[in-house]
């Protein structure tokens, strides 16, 4: 009556071959999908640099410093576009930074859960409004009813109106990233402050904001990056289509990097293949990509810092 013990072979434990094959196949499919994003990045870099460099070889490099952006007459003054982009982002940040951070502080420190639950989705709705709509809003409401009301002698287009609209677009982004950072500040810090008699405002300003500062900086950098990349508002409300002058005046109309790309894309320059005007958009696109990429990497650094701390 000796009991026979059967040692299961390794073969038996590893399950059926069909099941393993299927498992490998599924994994390979998913891995392929994940690798696709890398292909996209490489394609962006190759497409932009390849076309931009071949354009740079075709032009006279002094054209990049012509003082005027007028692609049809071979004047590709990059500084004009860069100044326009900076003007838009500065105006947008003046609007969006206080509003976004203030809203974030209220939602994180003052609002009770019920208020939070109703107000946050409304902010998300604002985030979901397409940028063409804000462009139209800038052109038909902000410019005539706000900018032209305050300043005299302003045309139909201005950097100011476009910048305000871009600011409105970036408020939800700044508010949501900043609020995440403030919400992540540990309760113990707040309670310690309350314990020694601090008031709510003191806690908000002296405890929560310093503790969340890297997240707030990340939110602002992301906001700037978003403002630099915003296209449709500028294309509709900032005005310049054919050419633009270097300017620091926010009441002027003018061109930005994104606006220049859009107007080259829809302009009739497209039909004339031999012209140097249309391919200049690759070069401007490359600069835009490099600029926003650097800002996004910087903001990622800051986000990682506040994640690490708490």
């Amino acid at each position: 009556m000796a009991a026979t013990t059967v040692t299961p072979s390794a073969d038996l434990l590893s399950g059926s071959a069909r099941r393993r094959r299927k498992e490998r196949l599924v994994k390979a499919l998913f891995q392929g999908a994940a690798m696709f994003s890398l292909i996209v990045s490489v394609a962006i870099v190759i497409a932009l640099t390849g076309q931009a460099i071949s354009w740079l070889f075709d032009i006279d490099l002094s054209w990049l410093w012509a003082g005027v952006w007028s692609p049809r007459s071979n004047q590709f003054d990059i500084l004009t576009l860069f100044l326009g982009t900076m003007l838009i982002s500065v105006i947008a940040m003046v609007v969006a930074a206080p509003l976004g951070i203030g809203a974030a502080l209220y939602l994180s420190e003052y609002a009770n859960p019920r208020v939070r639950r109703t107000l946050k989705p409304i902010l998300e709705v604002l985030a979901g409004i397409p940028s063409v709509v804000l462009g139209y809003f800038a052109l038909t409401v902000i410019q005539p009813d706000l900018v032209q009301l305050i300043f005299n002698d302003v045309g139909a287009f201005s950097y100011l109106a476009a910048g305000i609209a871009v600011g409105i677009l970036t408020i939800p982004l700044i508010a949501s990233v900043a609020e995440d950072a403030m919400y992540a500040v540990p309760h113990a810090l707040r309670e310690a402050a309350y314990g020694i008699g601090a008031r709510r405002r003191t806690v908000a300003i002296r405890i929560v904001i310093p503790a969340a500062v890297s997240g707030i900086v990340a939110a602002l950098i992301l906001g700037i990056s978003r403002a630099i990349g915003e296209t449709m508002v500028v294309a509709i409300a900032a005005g310049a289509t054919g050419s633009a002058q270097r300017t620091f005046n926010p009441l002027d109309g003018g061109q930005t990097m994104t606006g220049a790309i859009a107007s080259l894309a829809i302009g009739s320059d497209r039909a004339r293949g031999s012209d140097l005007a249309f391919p200049s958009l690759y070069f401007v696109g490359l600069l835009l990509f490099v600029l926003t990429f650097a800002l996004n990497v910087a903001s990622e650094r800051f986000v990682r810092r506040f994640r690490k701390d708490y």
């Binding site: 038909t140 300003i205 996004n296």
Partner: protein, 311 residues
Amino acid sequence: MSTIAATESTRRTVELALRGRRIDVRGRAFQALLLLTLFISLGFLLVLLWTTWTTAQPVFTDRGWDFVRSDVSSLASRAGVWQGIVGSLILTGFVVFVALPLGVAAAIYLEEYARDTALNRLLIANIRNLAGVPSVVYGILGLVVFAQALRGISGGLSYISGGLTLAVLVIPIVILVTMESLRAVPASIREAAYGVGATRWEVVRSHVLPYAAPGVFTGAILSLARAFGETAPLLLVGAVTGYISTGGDRGLIDTLQGRFTALPTLIFSFSRQIGDDWRANAAAAILVLLVVILAVNAVAIVLRNRYERKW
């Protein structure tokens, strides 16, 4: 007697100091200021909706459904958005069939399969960066890759090029949102399934995905809304801003390889026209776009609030 009076006055002083002023005026003012910033932000939304509605109203009272059902025209009184609606729906179809499967699959790999290697960290960092690339840059990518290099398949400046460009644009967003919902499913669910002998794919398919589904759907819907309103990349791959003729008896392939327009593109071209009647048309087109996008957003938010699970 005097000692009692002294302690009494000390007690009162101490109590007063401890209690502070009954109403913290500056604190209240600060709170009101913060609330004001929130209301200003939301006020923009209200003013935007209100002005759009009042500007658009004449178009709808005069023409009603005719505006929605008409084709593009050079006459403001006859122009409509039908071609734009059809175009946007076709483009969104590409996002549904290309971006959602690819994005969800990539997220499953990164969250459920990938080990913490240098390559996988690079993949995730890369996806985060892609999500922040401006949409015009995707337009240039679409122009170079889909409209020029793959001209033979896509037909150049066509629905196929436009749709694939939008799909590539939203893939990083789909991946990030899906990863977040997968991460929220507790490890104990997976361990229970492994414990009874399920393979990794079986765990994902029958246990993780069902629990993560509401979050995945919400993210998917929001990405569709994003793609639906996107304009700049479409301009780069040749969305028609002027007159476009569609219809006729073209086959499906011919249509997809042909020139296209979309609802946001029409809004852009209407806004650039001069005159009050075009302005009203632009507002009316915006209203149609916003109705679609807000409805989609509302569905997503309701879905999330109803099915969101706290573990």
